[in-house]
C-alpha cells in the first residue's frame, strides 16, 4: 500500500502518495505553480528556480517528538527563511504551502525576467508560438517590461543543426536541460549534452551522425520554448492554424497513439499533414513516439502513389477504369473458385481483414497472413489479459524477451521494458547476439542461432536462476520476436513460450501473457480474425489458380515466392505503391493509407484501437475492404459494399473476440497522470491530451481452435568455411513506408549484411565492402557492416532491404569489391 500524505496548498487540503513533489500535489488541486526544468517523467533537477514557493512544516518538539501546538490547538507551522523549489521538495504530513503570496509572486517575476532578458522576443515567428510555456507563464506571472538593456543581449546562432533531424536555436534555449535529461534518463542515448558553462552554456552533439538517437523527436515536444525544432516542421506552420487528428501509428505493433497536425494549404487547397505528435496513452506509449513514427508519414504524399487501377495488357500494366478492373478481377475470381489463395498483411485494418476473410470463406479458399513471425494464435490464447499495463510492472514481476532486438523492432516497448527493469522488475534477455536491452537485464541468456529450442528447454525445464525467476514471478510477461528466426522456428518458439506461461499459471490475469513483436501494426488483428501464416507459401501459391494479395509484398522478401507467383494463374494486388509484387500482377488496385481512412487495429499487447481519417484520400483510391466487396459483388458473391462503420458493426456482432465491442468503448478516455494537456498554462510538453480514446484490451481468445503442434526446428550444423545466414529486423529499412520519407534517408541502415569483425578478418573483408552471399541456389549482394556483438560464424541479413532471406540458411561469403576501391 502506498503511504498517503495530507498537506495544505493555498489553504486547500490535498492527499497524495508520499514522495509526490509539491508541484504535482498542486496540480491535483488545479493550482498552477509554474515550472520549466521540471518534467513529471524526468528526475527533478531544480535548476530553473521558477517554481519557488513558501513552505512551512509543523514544528516538532524534540523532547516529546510531538507537534508543537498554537494556543488555538492547531499545529504550529514554521516557515524557512528561503523559498523552496516546489519541483524538488517532496510533500510531508501537515506541510503548508503558499504558492501565491507577494514574496512568491515577486520571486517568480524575477526569475522570469532573468530568463526573458536573454531570450529573443521572436514569438511571432517562433514555431512554439501559441504553445510555449515561457510565453504563457510570462503573460500570467511575468514582468511587463524588462529593465535590462537590449543592446547587451547575447546574440547567438539560431539555426544550429544538432543532427539532420533536430535544429537548435541557441538564443531561445533557456538551459532547462529537459532534452539532455530525456536523452540520458529515458532514451539512454546521452548524445546531446551541455558544453561550456555560465551564460555560455549550450547544447551540443558530438555523435555521428549528429543527435544519433531514435527518440530524438521527443526532445522537441518537451522543450518548453522553441529552441529545439524538427527539420520536418521548422517554419512549417503556426500552431493555431492546424487541426489535431487523432490516429494510431502502424509502423510497428506497439500502436503508439498519435496526432496528425493538419492544415489546408493555401496554394493547393489540399489538407496536408504538417507533423506527427505523440498523443498521451500511459498504457501504450505514455507521451513518447520514436522517430520512425514521427518522420515517415510522408509516404502518404509520395508522387509514387497508385491512383488508378492497372491491368496487364501485352505484358504491360496499363491504366484502366475502376469498373473495368473490378469486372476483370471478378471474372478471374469466379474462375478460380476455391483455388484462390488470399494473402494479406497487418497493414490492413480489422475491417479490411474481416471482409477479406469472409470473401475467402465464401469461395472456400485459403486466408494467409504474410508476416515474418508465426504463433499469433498462441498470443490470441495466452496474450496480455484485459487490465494489463506495462508501466505497472515492477519488483516481483519478470519480463522475458526472447529472440528480439526490441530497440530496433519496437522502440516504445524497449523504452517501457527498460522502465520496468529500472523500477525493479526482473528482466531476462535471451538472444543469440548482444542487443541494447542487455544493459538493463537482470540475466542474459546467450544461445546460438539455430539452437533456440535448446535455450527454451533450459528456461522451461532448467533449475537456473533464470528458470526460477520465470517460474516464481508474480507476473510474467514474455516477448518474442524474429531475430534470426523464420516462420517454422517462431511457431515453435511461440508454442513453447505459451506452454511456459500456462504451466506456471501466468495466463488470464492482468500483466501476464505473451507478446509477439510483429513488424506491422495489425498483424495480431489478423490472427484474431483467424488468419494463419503458411510455412509452405511457395507450394501453396504454385498450386493455386489465382492469388489475391492485399497490402503485402511477399516478393520483396522471398525469391522463391517470385518464381511461384510467376507460375500462378493470375494475380490481383491492392496496394499504395507499385511494389515488386504488384509488378507481377494482372490487375492492381490503388488502396488508401492509414491516415486517409478510418478503421481499427490490434496491437501486440492485444489492445484494439480506433483511428479516424486525418487527410483526404488521393482521388482514385479506395479502402481495401471496399475493393474486396466490389470484386465480390461483381463476382455474384453475397458480400456487398459497406462503409467501414457498417463492417465494424457486422464484425462485432459476429462471435469471436471482437464480439460486443463498441466504438464508444474504443473511444473512451479517462484522466491520465501525469497531466500533460496543452491547454494548461504550463505543461510537460507539447504531447497532446487524449480525447479520442485509449482503446481496450481484448478478452483472451480461448475458443479459437488450438494451434497444431509445431515441429521442432532442426538444429543446423555449419560446415567449415560456411556461415549461417539469419534474417534480422532493423528500425529503418527499405520498406515502402520508410524510404519514401526524405527525412530518414540518412538513417536507413546501409549494410545489408553484417559479420563479426573476426570473421570479416578471416575472409579479408572490411566494413563497407560489397559482399556476395552464396545461398543454395542464389546469391545475395550487399554492403558489409561489422558488429562486435554478434556471434562468429553468423551472417546477419537485414529484412526489408531487398535481400531475400526469410528463414535461416547456410551460406558462403566472399568480397566482390572492397570499400577502398570505390571512389
Amino acid at each position: 500500500m502506498e503511504k498517503l500524505v495530507t498537506l495544505q496548498i493555498d489553504g486547500r487540503s490535498v492527499t497524495v502518495p508520499a514522495g509526490t513533489m509539491i508541484v504535482d500535489a498542486a496540480k491535483k488541486l488545479d493550482i498552477i505553480i509554474p515550472t520549466f526544468c521540471y518534467h513529471p517523467k524526468l528526475k527533478p533537477a531544480g535548476m530553473c528556480r521558477v517554481c519557488l514557493v513558501d513552505v512551512g512544516r509543523p514544528q516538532i518538539d524534540r523532547a516529546t517528538n510531538q507537534p508543537v501546538l498554537n494556543e488555538d490547538g492547531t499545529p504550529k507551522i514554521v516557515f524557512g527563511p528561503k523559498l523552496e523549489t516546489a519541483c524538488t521538495t517532496p510533500v510531508s504530513e501537515g506541510m503548508v504551502v503558499w504558492g501565491a503570496t507577494e514574496k512568491v509572486m515577486e520571486a517568480r517575476k524575477e526569475i522570469l525576467e532573468f530568463l526573458l532578458t536573454s531570450h529573443p522576443l521572436d514569438c511571432p515567428v517562433c514555431d512554439k508560438g501559441g504553445e510555449c510555456p515561457l510565453q504563457n507563464l510570462t503573460l500570467k506571472f511575468g514582468p511587463t517590461e524588462s529593465r535590462f538593456e537590449f543592446d547587451e543581449k547575447k546574440h547567438l546562432s539560431k539555426h544550429v543543426p544538432l543532427g539532420e533531424l533536430i535544429y537548435l536555436d541557441r538564443e531561445r534555449c533557456i538551459q532547462c536541460g529537459r532534452c539532455v535529461r530525456f536523452q540520458d534518463q529515458i532514451a539512454d542515448d546521452p548524445v546531446i549534452g551541455f558544453s561550456e558553462r555560465g551564460r555560455s552554456i549550450q547544447i551540443v552533439s558530438f555523435s555521428e551522425p549528429g543527435f544519433d538517437s531514435i527518440f530524438s523527436g521527443n526532445t522537441t515536444d518537451i522543450c518548453p520554448v522553441g529552441a529545439l525544432t524538427t527539420a520536418d516542421f521548422r517554419f512549417g506552420a503556426r500552431t493555431w492554424e492546424m487541426e489535431n487528428k487523432a490516429s494510431i501509428c502502424t509502423q510497428c505493433s506497439v500502436g503508439c497513439n498519435i496526432i496528425y497536425n493538419t492544415r489546408r494549404e493555401v496554394k493547393s487547397g489540399k489538407i496536408v499533414i504538417k507533423r506527427v505528435m505523440p498523443r498521451q496513452n500511459e498504457e501504450v506509449n505514455e507521451i513518447w513516439i520514436c522517430d520512425k513514427g514521427r518522420f515517415t508519414y510522408h509516404y502518404a504524399n509520395s508522387p509514387e502513389r497508385l491512383t488508378t487501377p492497372l491491368i496487364r495488357r501485352n505484358g504491360e500494366l496499363v491504366r484502366v477504369s475502376w469498373e473495368e478492373a473490378i469486372e476483370f478481377a471478378a471474372q478471374k475470381v469466379k474462375a478460380a473458385g476455391s483455388k484462390l489463395a488470399v494473402i494479406a498483411s497487418g497493414r490492413l485494418s480489422n475491417e479490411d481483414l474481416y471482409t477479406l476473410k469472409k470473401f475467402s470463406t465464401e469461395i472456400e479458399g485459403k486466408a494467409i497472413l504474410h508476416t515474418t513471425i508465426s504463433g499469433g494464435d498462441w498470443v490470441s490464447r495466452v496474450g496480455m489479459a484485459p487490465g494489463s499495463d506495462l508501466s505497472k510492472l515492477e519488483k516481483g514481476s519478470t519480463i522475458l524477451v526472447f529472440a528480439s532486438d526490441l530497440h530496433e523492432e519496437a522502440p516504445l516497448w524497449w523504452l517501457r521494458v527498460k522502465g520496468a527493469a529500472e523500477r525493479g522488475a526482473t528482466l531476462i534477455v535471451a538472444n543469440a547476439r548482444k542487443t541494447r536491452l542487455d544493459k538493463f537485464a537482470t540475466h542474459t541468456l546467450r544461445y546460438r542461432y539455430g539452437e533456440e529450442a535448446k535455450a527454451l528447454d533450459e528456461i522451461i525445464s532448467g533449475k537456473s536462476e533464470i528458470s526460477m525467476a520465470v517460474k516464481e514471478a508474480e507476473n510474467l510477461v514474455v516477448f518474442y520476436g524474429s531475430d534470426g528466426l523464420g516462420l517454422a522456428q517462431s511457431a515453435y518458439v511461440a508454442e513453447k513460450l505459451a506452454g511456459l506461461l500456462t504451466s506456471t499459471g501466468h495466463t488470464g490475469k492482468p500483466n501476464n501473457g505473451l507478446i509477439a513483436v510483429w513488424q506491422k501494426g495489425n498483424d495480431q488483428g489478423a490472427w484474431e480474425l483467424g488468419y494463419k501464416t503458411d510455412q509452405h507459401l511457395e507450394d501453396t501459391i504454385s498450386a493455386a489458380m489465382g492469388v489475391y494479395i492485399a497490402g503485402a509484398d511477399p516478393v520483396s522478401e522471398d525469391p522463391g515466392l517470385k518464381i511461384a507467383l510467376q507460375r500462378a494463374g493470375f494475380i490481383i494486388v491492392q496496394d499504395l505503391f507499385l511494389t515488386d509484387t504488384a509488378r507481377l500482377a494482372d490487375v492492381v488496385f490503388p488502396a488508401q493509407a492509414v491516415m486517409e481512412r478510418e478503421g481499427t487495429a490490434v496491437t501486440g499487447e492485444r489492445r484494439m484501437q480506433y483511428y479516424a481519417p486525418a487527410v483526404c484520400e488521393p482521388e482514385g483510391t479506395r479502402p481495401d475492404h471496399s475493393i474486396t466487396c466490389a470484386i465480390a459483388q461483381a463476382a455474384g458473391m453475397s458480400l456487398t459494399v459497406a462503409t467501414t462503420a457498417e463492417i465494424f458493426e457486422q464484425m462485432t456482432a459476429a462471435p469471436g473476440v471482437f464480439h460486443n465491442i463498441t466504438l464508444n468503448q474504443l473511444r473512451e478516455t479517462c484522466e491520465q497522470w501525469p497531466r500533460i494537456g496543452r491547454n494548461e498554462v504550463y505543461y510537460a510538453g507539447t504531447a497532446f491530451d487524449n480525447k479520442d480514446g485509449l482503446g481496450v484490451i481484448l478478452p483472451l481468445n480461448q475458443d479459437q481452435e488450438k494451434p497444431l503442434p509445431a515441429a521442432i526446428p532442426e538444429a543446423v550444423t555449419v560446415p567449415q568455411g560456411q556461415f549461417l545466414a539469419v534474417p534480422v529486423t532493423r528500425l529503418y529499412d527499405r520498406g515502402g513506408t520508410v524510404i519514401t520519407s526524405d527525412m530518414v534517408k540518412e538513417r536507413i541502415t546501409r549494410n545489408l549484411i553484417s559479420l563479426n569483425p573476426k570473421d570479416a578478418d578471416k575472409i579479408k573483408a572490411a566494413a563497407g565492402d560489397r559482399i556476395l552471399l552464396h545461398l543454395a541456389g542464389r546469391d545475395i549482394e550487399g554492403l558489409l557492416g561489422l558488429d562486435n556483438g554478434q556471434p562468429e560464424g553468423v551472417v546477419l541479413v537485414t529484412r526489408s532491404m531487398g535481400a531475400l532471406l526469410s528463414t535461416p540458411a547456410l551460406a558462403a561469403v566472399s568480397v566482390i569489391e572492397p570499400a577502398t576501391q570505390k571512389s
Partner: protein, 416 residues
C-alpha cells in the same frame, strides 16, 4: 608567533621529506590509531576538540563524520584541495611544505569512518603538486603506512589523487563529487547529503585540507591541547591568507579570535605606503565588504564575531583594501570572477552574473546613467536566496555591501 599546529614546516626544515616527518614523530598517531584505537574513539576526540571545517562553512567536523550511516558500505573520504577562492592560498602551502601531516590527517579521517579508499581532489593548476602526491602515496605504500592489512590489522587504505581542470565551482562539495565521477562540475540537489549519498552514490566525508591537517594534532596530542588556543566556540588556530594592499602579504597561522588589527598591522606590517585602510574582505571574493572602522579592526576573527559585523569568516582569506582603491573596480573583479565561474545550471546565477557584469562594466567605464547603480543592486538582490548553490549567493555579497557602504565610489565613476 604562537603555537603552530599546521605550518610546522616553518620551524622544521625539510618537513616535506618523509624521513624528516618521521623523525619528528610523524605517523605515530596513525599507527596508534589503527593498531590501538576504535574508530569511535577518533570521532569522539574530534567532537571533543570542537574542530570546525576550514573550507568555509565552519561545520563541526566530528558531527559531520557521525552522520555516515553504518548500514551502507563502502564509505569514502574526499579531501577538498580545490582551493580556488580568490585570495586563498593556505592549502597550497600545506600541500607543498607540510604534505605528510595533511596525509596523516586524511588517513585518520578515513580510519574514523572506516573508508578503504580516499580521494584527494586537486584543482587542475596544482598539477605538479598532485604528481608529487602520487609519489608520496607510493612511498607511503612501500613503507607500509598505506595499503592492505595495515600493521597486521584488518584495516586497509588506499589514497588516490584526482585532478580538476579549472572550475571554481568544483570546490563546492557536490560539484566536486560530480567532477570525480567524470561529469560537469555542477552541484547536486540536496538532500540527499554526501554523508548519505556521496561519491559513487555512497556515504562520503568531504573535508578541507586545512581541516584534515589539524587531525594529527587533535588525535595525537588530544582535544585539550587543541582547545588550549582559540576561543570556546572556535577553538584551535587558523591559517589566515592575508593579501591585497598590505606590506607583507602571506599566510599567518594564528589562534582563532585574533583581531583583524593584529593580523593586518602586526603580522602584515600595515598598509602599503602607510595609506589609510578602507575595507576588509574577510572571506575572499565571496565576502561582504566590511568598512575598516576601529570596531571592525578590533573584532576577533572567529566563526561568531565576523558574522556579527555582517560578514563571514569563510576560509579566512583576508583581502585588504586601502584608500587608493575605488570599490567599484574591485566589484568589477569579483563580478567577473563569478560570471566566469558560474556553472550555468540555475537561472539566477547564470543570468544574474552575466547582467551584473554588463552593468558594472558600464559603470566602471564611466558610460552609465545614475540608475545603473540601483539596477546593479536590484539584479543582485533578485538573485539572493534563489540560487541553486552558494556560488550564486556569494556573487552578490560584495555587490550589495559595496553599494550599501561605498556608494560614493560608484557615483564618482558616473561623473568622470
Amino acid at each position: 608567533m604562537s603555537d603552530l599546529f599546521l605550518l610546522r614546516h616553518r620551524t622544521i626544515a625539510g618537513l616535506n621529506q618523509l624521513s624528516i616527518y618521521l623523525e619528528n614523530g610523524g605517523f605515530k598517531t596513525w599507527k596508534k590509531a589503527v593498531t590501538a584505537q576504535k574508530p569511535e574513539d577518533l570521532i569522539n576526540e574530534v567532537k571533543a576538540s570542537g574542530l570546525r571545517g576550514r573550507g568555509g562553512a565552519g561545520f563541526p567536523t566530528g558531527v559531520k563524520w557521525s552522520f555516515l550511516p553504518n548500514n551502507i558500505w563502502p564509505h569514502y573520504v574526499v579531501a577538498n584541495s580545490d582551493e580556488s577562492e580568490p585570495g586563498t592560498f593556505k592549502d597550497r602551502e600545506i600541500l607543498e611544505y607540510n604534505p605528510y601531516q595533511f596525509l596523516e590527517g586524511l588517513m585518520l579521517a578515513s580510519y574514523a569512518v572506516q573508508a578503504k579508499d580516499a580521494y584527494i581532489y586537486f584543482r587542475g593548476e596544482f598539477w605538479q603538486i598532485a604528481r608529487r602526491f602520487d609519489e608520496r602515496i607510493a612511498e607511503l605504500t612501500a613503507s607500509g603506512y598505506l595499503g592492505d592489512h595495515l600493521f597486521g590489522t584488518d584495516y586497509s587504505l588506499r589514497i588516490h589523487t584526482h585532478l580538476g581542470a579549472g572550475a571554481y565551482i568544483c570546490g563546492e562539495e557536490t560539484a566536486l563529487l560530480e567532477s570525480i565521477e567524470g561529469r560537469l562540475g555542477q552541484p547536486r540537489l540536496r538532500p540527499p547529503f554526501p554523508a548519505v549519498e556521496g561519491l559513487f552514490g555512497l556515504p562520503t566525508v568531504i573535508n578541507n585540507v586545512e581541516t584534515l591537517t589539524n587531525l594529527p594534532v587533535i588525535i595525537g596530542e588530544g582535544a585539550a591541547r587543541f582547545r588550549s588556543v582559540g576561543t570556546e566556540k572556535s577553538p584551535g588556530t587558523k591559517i589566515f591568507s592575508l593579501s591585497g594592499r598590505v606590506k607583507k602579504p602571506g599566510n599567518y597561522e594564528l589562534p582563532l579570535g585574533t583581531t583583524f588589527r593584529e593580523l593586518i598591522f602586526t603580522h602584515g606590517e600595515g598598509i602599503i605606503n602607510d595609506a589609510k585602510i578602507k575595507a576588509i574582505m574577510p572571506a575572499g571574493a565571496s565576502s561582504a565588504l566590511i568598512p575598516a572602522t576601529d570596531v571592525a579592526l578590533d573584532t576577533p576573527m572567529d566563526y561568531e564575531s565576523v558574522p556579527a559585523l555582517g560578514g563571514q569568516l569563510g576560509s579566512a582569506s583576508v583581502i585588504i583594501l586601502d584608500e587608493t582603491v575605488n570599490i567599484s573596480d574591485l566589484v568589477k573583479d569579483t563580478v567577473h570572477f563569478f560570471k566566469h565561474e558560474s556553472c550555468g545550471k540555475c537561472t539566477p546565477c547564470r543570468e544574474g552574473t552575466y547582467w551584473m557584469s554588463c552593468i558594472i562594466d558600464r559603470i566602471v567605464s564611466g558610460k552609465s546613467k545614475k540608475e545603473d547603480i540601483d539596477l546593479l543592486l536590484t539584479v543582485a538582490r533578485n538573485m539572493q536566496n534563489k540560487c541553486f548553490c552558494a556560488l550564486g549567493e556569494f556573487s552578490t555579497t560584495a555587490v550589495v555591501s559595496a553599494i550599501d557602504k561605498f556608494r560614493a565610489d560608484f557615483e564618482a565613476r558616473l561623473e568622470s
